[in-house]
Amino acid sequence: MNLSEHSSILIVVIPLIASFVNIFLNFLQRKLCYPFFVLVLGICVALSIDILCQVINFGVLRYRLGGWMAPWGIEYVIDHLNAYLIVIVSSMSFIVAIYSKDSVKKEISKAKLPYFYSTYLLLATGLFGITVTGDIFNLYVFLEIASLSAYALVAIGEKRSVLASFHYIIMGTIGACFYLLGVGYIYIITGSLNISDLTRLLPSLYESKVTLTALAFFIVGIGIKIALFPLHRWLPDSYTFAPSAVSAFASATVTKVGIYVLIRISFTLFEPKFLIEMTPLSNILIWWSTIAIFFGSLIAIGQKDFKRTLSYILIAEIGYMVFGINIGNKEGFIGAVLHILNDSLMIGCLFMIAGGVFYRIGSRNIEDFNGLNRNMPITMAAFTIAALSMIGIPPTAGFFSKWYLIVGAVKAGYLVSAVILIFSSLVNALIFFRILEKIYFTKNENTPMYNFRELPISMMIPIVITALAILIIGLYSGEIISSVIKFSLPKGF
């Protein structure tokens, strides 16, 4: 049997099964849980890279579940965009998994750890599922697998996380239900659930109001899941109070996968011209996301809690991506897709650093960052790189996606949005240089409290790897665009 043929299903099935095995392993030999957990995610990384290579070499992969033909059975379709996303999700989940070993020690009780690992694997399963599937109802199921495990993971955190998780459940369920309604309306008029089948069927139905209703439900539903301002209320609390490993993993992947779903719905399910020319939807989304960028950045300035600051920055970054895909030109789309990668590295790295600082000083308050450079120079160097990338200073990765977004905005004539994008960069500069000044140039008064050294090696390596990736990937942006993103451009771009 050629294993490579089945990569696309294995990447979903392996973590799913592993999450159950992990619980049994807990009863047999608790020590094995963590190595097993990391091993499984390592296998997922290998599989995802295999998938990416296959897609680059042989084009679109199609995998029929149970051998059923496409419109009837469930089909997994992987093109360049999915493969790209899978690699991002799997690598981030692997990196954060390594990081979680020591970081959860202070946040989660030992007895709960195996369950934490299982839920983490379930979240990964859900995210992989969303990216590989070519069926809109199947996508809903995976969306809910991912969300349910995310609710649980958030609730493991400190005391206040439980209420945050509850709000997340309420909002997330509304989002998922809206998505399901969208699926219902699409099914009513076409009788199909397969994305490639729908691409063929829908164009004749563009005049129908039902189609429009479905699209509206899809967009609002996904808007909640990706926390597009003002539907973002669940995000800051959840990511602030969740365990740091969860914040890092979820912020780096969950919202990005949501963006992926938005791209699929808007540009694969429907033709780009439907959103851009026939309806004012993409125009609405552009203004909507511009507002999201503006307010996300604005609110971020006023926060004292570092993780909360990051959450609001994340909300602004989501605005970037939604903005980029809706501009309707090549540059904007490339910028948005590139930003999926860059942002997941940057925000993941920053959340891991936030967790690392919490691990050492037990505080997330920016005021307590004074003089940290003396104690943890390597972590703070990584912080500097991630911060510069967030601001968009070349040659870090963040610059290149921003470059494409701004060029796209200018070419499409959305000058106000371009100004807002730059405004947001400036706000990031303000936020991060304020922190950098504390880290490097302010002495902390209560020195005896700060008698500690660098982070444990298992936390440091992931942070350093992501920071280096931010530096290096930026230089290979062109390579990524020409070998992957170029092929995922929607028709007519």
Binding site: I391, P395, V407, A429, F441, G478
Partner: protein, 493 residues
């Protein structure tokens, strides 16, 4: 034009980057070895830069494409006569500044000297990067690196005042470059499709003139390092830094990078013809003239010696900008000559100010009574620097003023002559009193009477630069030869 491909530009940049690394790992304990790295790097860098001179003098252009990030964002070096001229000035002055830094930092027993030398070396690397860049993107990358690498130097003292001023420094430089310069670059790309500096200008005439005007103004506002009013106040703020850093800012790297970029934008992005047709050169000339006069007037009122020098720099830099704005060959000659004349003159003045501080801890002009009798050599150097700034023969400043005046007549802008005359008088007004009190008045401090010169490491560089100011006047031919080449390359003669 003949092109030769050589890795020398990369070496010239790398040599100080490597030395920064070596300095960092050598550390405080082996301070002699650490200082050796600085000095070796500065000498090597100068030698590498000079080794390119023969090729350039033959009219060749040296190119090296470092990294093709995306199809339009390319890290590309191309060295023409202008770039080499700037690189030579900066790298030569770095050697002198290195010696001076050692004397100054040790004399004052400053803290964190390792950090200081590391960032100094990085700044020089980035300055070479700007000098060698073939397109505005590469220049922008290194421009930002300079901004960030000089920030720790400005904040070196880590006092509240130092931090506040460093914040101001960073806020001005970073926010304008991200907000205005980046936007201008994006507009340039959208208007012309590439970002290269090309002879006679990159942008063409057939684009709407209002967009071009906006782009030009954004460039002028975005290249804040040139300290054109009203975006100049970061420069006086940066005076909190140690004196060698001020020398670096004012003479070696930072502000010169600014004016160099302005020259590039004026002659190689827009081009003479385009600017003339849009009448933008008048705007630039008026702004520069205003800066020259206004900054001189402000300088008159400063009692702090370094602040007075800072405002003098603001005023002198605009000479260079003004020379560019006149768009005539002679004015350009003057403008470029002033880069070197001002560099030598101002570095002498700053070295002298630093020497006074190291020996007597005096910073105010009102305290300098009789200082000339204590430190005759230093004050003699100071006088030479001041005379050169005013433009008195036989010092370098005279030559640049001469060419500027010729250029003003050539391009029929007689008001510029008046500006030059007023400015000369103002320069005399704020420099001569210092010289007067230093030599003529009696010291109030009766304790020190005999001669008490600065430490040798500080003294020699100061005297050396003063002598050089004279030498440049007496045999300007090697410089003039290169400058004529620059003018020919720029105006296509």
């Amino acid at each position: 034009m003949e092109t030769s491909i050589s890795i020398k530009p990369v070496l010239a940049i790398a040599v100080s980057a490597v030395s920064a690394f070596l300095i960092a790992i050598t550390g405080e304990k082996l301070r002699n070895l650490r200082e050796t790295w600085s000095i070796l790097a500065s000498i090597f860098k100068f030698l590498i830069v000079v080794s390119m001179l023969p090729d350039i003098l033959c009219g060749k252009v040296i190119e090296y494409c470092l990294f093709r990030i995306t199809s339009e964002l390319i890290l590309h070096f191309r060295i023409d006569a202008l770039g080499l001229f700037f690189a030579m000035t900066a790298s030569f002055l770095w050697i002198i500044t290195s010696f001076y830094s050692i004397g100054y930092m040790r004399g004052l027993n400053e803290h964190k000297q390792t950090r200081y030398f590391v960032y100094f070396a990085i700044t020089l690397s980035a300055t070479m990067g700007v000098a060698f860049s073939a397109n505005i993107f590469t220049a922008f990358v290194f421009y930002e690196i300079i901004t960030i690498a000089t920030y720790p130097l400005v904040a070196h003292k880590e006092t509240e005042e130092a931090k506040k001023n460093a914040r101001k420094y960073l806020a001005y430089l970073l926010s304008t470059s991200v907000a205005f310069q980046l936007t201008a670059i994006v507009l340039t790309y959208c208007l012309s499709g590439n970002l290269y500096f090309s002879k006679g200008g990159n942008l063409s005439n057939d684009i709407s003139s209002s967009l071009l005007t906006i782009t030009f103004l954004l460039y002028i506002a975005g290249i804040t390092k040139a300290a054109i009013m009203p975006l100049h106040s970061w420069l006086p703020a940066a005076m909190v830094a140690p004196t060698p850093v001020s020398a670096l800012l004012h003479a070696v790297a930072v502000v010169k990078t600014g004016v160099f970029m302005i020259l590039r934008v004026v002659f190689y992005i827009f081009g003479v013809d385009l600017l003339k047709s849009l009448n933008l050169e008048t705007v630039l000339a008026v702004v520069a003239s205003f800066t020259i006069v206004a900054a001189s007037v402000i300088a008159l009122r400063q009692d702090n010696l370094k602040l007075r020098l800072a405002y003098s720099t603001v005023s002198q830099l605009s000479y260079i900008v003004l020379g560019a704005a006149l768009l005539s060959p002679s004015a350009l000659k003057g403008s470029i000559f002033h880069i070197i004349a001002h560099a030598f003159g101002k570095i002498t003045l700053f070295f002298a100010a630093g020497a006074i501080y190291v020996t007597t801890y005096k910073t105010k002009i009102s305290e300098l009574d009789g200082i000339g009798k204590r430190m005759p050599l230093i004050m003699a150097s100071f006088t030479i620097g001041a005379l050169s700034m005013i433009g008195v023969p036989p010092f370098a400043g005279f030559i640049s003023k001469w060419y500027l005046s010729v250029g003003a007549i050539e391009s029929d802008k007689i008001f510029v002559l008046a500006i030059l005359a007023i400015s000369t008088i103002l320069n005399a007004c704020y420099f001569m009193p210092i010289v007067y009190v230093a030599f003529m008045k009696k010291s109030k401090d009766s304790k020190y009477n005999g001669i008490n010169e600065a430490p040798i490491f500080v003294l020699i560089p100061t005297v050396l630069t003063a002598v050089l100011t004279l030498v440049v006047f007496l045999c300007p031919h090697p410089f003039i030869k290169l400058i004529i080449l620059i003018v020919n390359q720029t105006f296509g003669g």
